[in-house]
């Protein structure tokens, strides 16, 4: 039954997860700029605080105090609704991620997961497919040609890559036999990571994740050389901040999902042979999980500053003619291997 302890525990967990997600998204902008500077042999932000560590706060404050301008011919309601939907859809996926196994607090077992849905993978897929609305609504409401063009690009790109992503996930669930994220993570106990079982599926998934988050090789929706500023051309102030922030949250969330689905989540080698207490092992697991997430996020940034942008027809050809047949092939092979 719903008792007080349960409600308090979930409330604390929800606020903690939300706060951590936002702080990490904030500092990803800093990491991105520092790493970009490193790749290009520059120094990067170094004025606010030691090593520029306060730069994200300064950026946030700047966004807050700027005027949130709404163009005269824009649809005012939808113009404000767009960034909000982007932000909400980006944060929603955190609800089913298993951040750690469980903590023992005052004799209660507290699972470090907000909701263990038995359709967790499908929930993630549904939330991912909602992300496109924020971009579509905002881009259309701006009443700007460039914004509309980029909206069309963004939505067709996201829908196309969702298909390959979904088929890669089907292959994964075929080999794990469950849709609950917690079970998928615990099945990878002891180094049996899914990436060894589904290498092709993982490659397809990570390419689709790049496309879904509109990151660099596929960032055509905000391609400056062709489309001014992309779908957020008309935005300013905190509304623009929401769009940019949602992109970083999406990056964090997709790294988290990949770490949980393919890299064993909070499992690490010699998990139980260290002879530590249950709580300490859990906390170590959380740390290991975040290390995996940060490694994947570094990969995202690394790719962004290394690989040039695709052309739009190349993007569509890759999605429909390469990734989708590969994903179907992967699913067939997995199914046949399971049958044998």
């Amino acid at each position: 039954m719903l008792d007080l302890f349960f409600i308090i525990q979930k409330l604390i967990l929800v606020s903690a997860v939300l706060a951590i997600t936002l702080v990490i998204a904030m500092y990803t902008t800093y990491a991105e700029r520092k790493l970009a500077a490193f790749f290009q042999d520059r120094v990067g932000p170094n004025r606010a605080g030691p090593f520029g560590i306060l730069q994200p706060l300064a950026d946030g404050l700047k966004f807050m105090f700027k005027e949130a301008f709404i163009p005269a011919n824009a649809n005012k309601f939808l113009f404000v609704l767009g960034p909000s939907i982007s932000m909400i859809a980006a944060c929603m996926a955190c609800g089913v991620i298993p951040w750690g196994s469980s903590l023992m607090i005052m004799g209660h077992e507290v699972p470090l997961q907000i909701a263990d849905l038995n359709v967790g993978v499908l929930y993630l897929f549904g939330v991912v497919s909602l992300g496109v609305y924020g971009i579509m609504i905002g881009g259309w409401a701006s009443n700007n040609k460039y914004a509309l063009l980029s909206t069309i690009r963004a939505s067709s790109q996201m829908i196309s890559y969702e298909i390959a992503m979904g088929i890669a996930l089907i292959a994964l669930t075929l080999s794990t036999g469950t849709l609950s994220l917690k079970e998928i993570v615990s099945l990878q106990h002891g180094g049996h990571w899914n990436v060894w079982v589904q290498p092709l599926g993982f490659i397809i998934f990570i390419i689709c994740a790049f496309a879904e988050t509109n990151r660099m090789p596929f960032d055509l929706p905000e391609c400056e050389t062709e489309l001014v500023g992309g779908y957020h051309t008309e935005y300013s102030g905190m509304q623009l901040g929401f769009y940019l922030f949602a992109e970083y949250i999406n990056m964090f969330v997709s790294s988290t999902v990949m770490a949980a689905l393919y890299f064993g989540g909070f499992n690490f080698p010699f998990l139980n042979s260290l002879g530590l207490s249950h709580n300490l092992v859990t906390l170590l697991g959380v740390g290991v999980f975040f290390a995996k997430i940060f490694a994947l996020m570094f990969f995202f940034i690394w790719i962004r500053w290394t690989i040039p942008r695709f052309r739009y027809d190349q993007l569509m050809r890759l999605g429909w003619k390469v990734l989708m047949p590969l994903a179907i092939f992967n699913m067939l092979v997995t199914a046949v291997l399971i049958l044998l």
């Binding site: 849905l117 359709v119 499908l122 497919s129 496109v132 609305y133 579509m136 259309w140 509309l148």
Partner: protein, 161 residues
């Protein structure tokens, strides 16, 4: 609490459905329909069918409504073309009135015997999958042919001749 949730969801469903057919701007219609689908998904969860709720969101909100929004944003001026002739309008209310009266009358006379209690059945993935791939395997396979023909048809229609 469940009763309150049911009433809230029902109110949301009806209000957003009305907004779909009454909005002047088609974009608002699409957005209200998305809201309506979310509240229907909430009903599915209340009826312990979580799998259907999630699939409903993926199929309707994730795919179908994006298609609608796409078509409206790309090719329609948001100006409205208006309503049909008043004969049809009055006729539609008449038809719906008859439908409503029939349902209420059936309930009043006790012809529709509805069970009082929910049996313990959960629309989980495994139980639903067992029914779908056991009893309904052939219709399921046939539906893939329907999908294939739809894909071919849409590609043919979409080509500029």
């Amino acid at each position: 609490m469940i009763l309150g949730l049911f009433c809230f969801l029902s109110l949301l469903t009806i209000m957003s459905a009305l907004s779909v057919i009454l909005s002047r701007n088609p974009v608002y219609s699409v957005l209200s329909l998305i809201l309506c689908f979310f509240s229907i998904a909430g009903h599915y969860i209340l009826l312990s069918a979580p799998f259907l709720a999630v699939v409903h969101i993926i199929v309707y909100a994730g795919a179908i409504m994006v298609l609608f929004l796409f078509v409206i944003m790309l090719m329609m001026r948001t100006s409205d073309v208006g309503l049909t002739s008043w004969v049809k309008r009055i006729g539609s209310f008449f038809v719906v009135g008859v439908l409503g009266v029939t349902i209420v009358a059936l309930m009043q006379r006790g012809t529709l015997v509805l069970p009082r209690y929910l049996a313990s059945v959960e629309g989980s993935v495994s139980s639903l999958g067992r029914v779908l791939f056991g009893q309904y395997a052939i219709p399921f396979e046939l539906s893939t042919i329907l999908f294939l023909s739809a894909v071919v048809g849409v590609v043919m229609l979409g080509k500029k001749s």
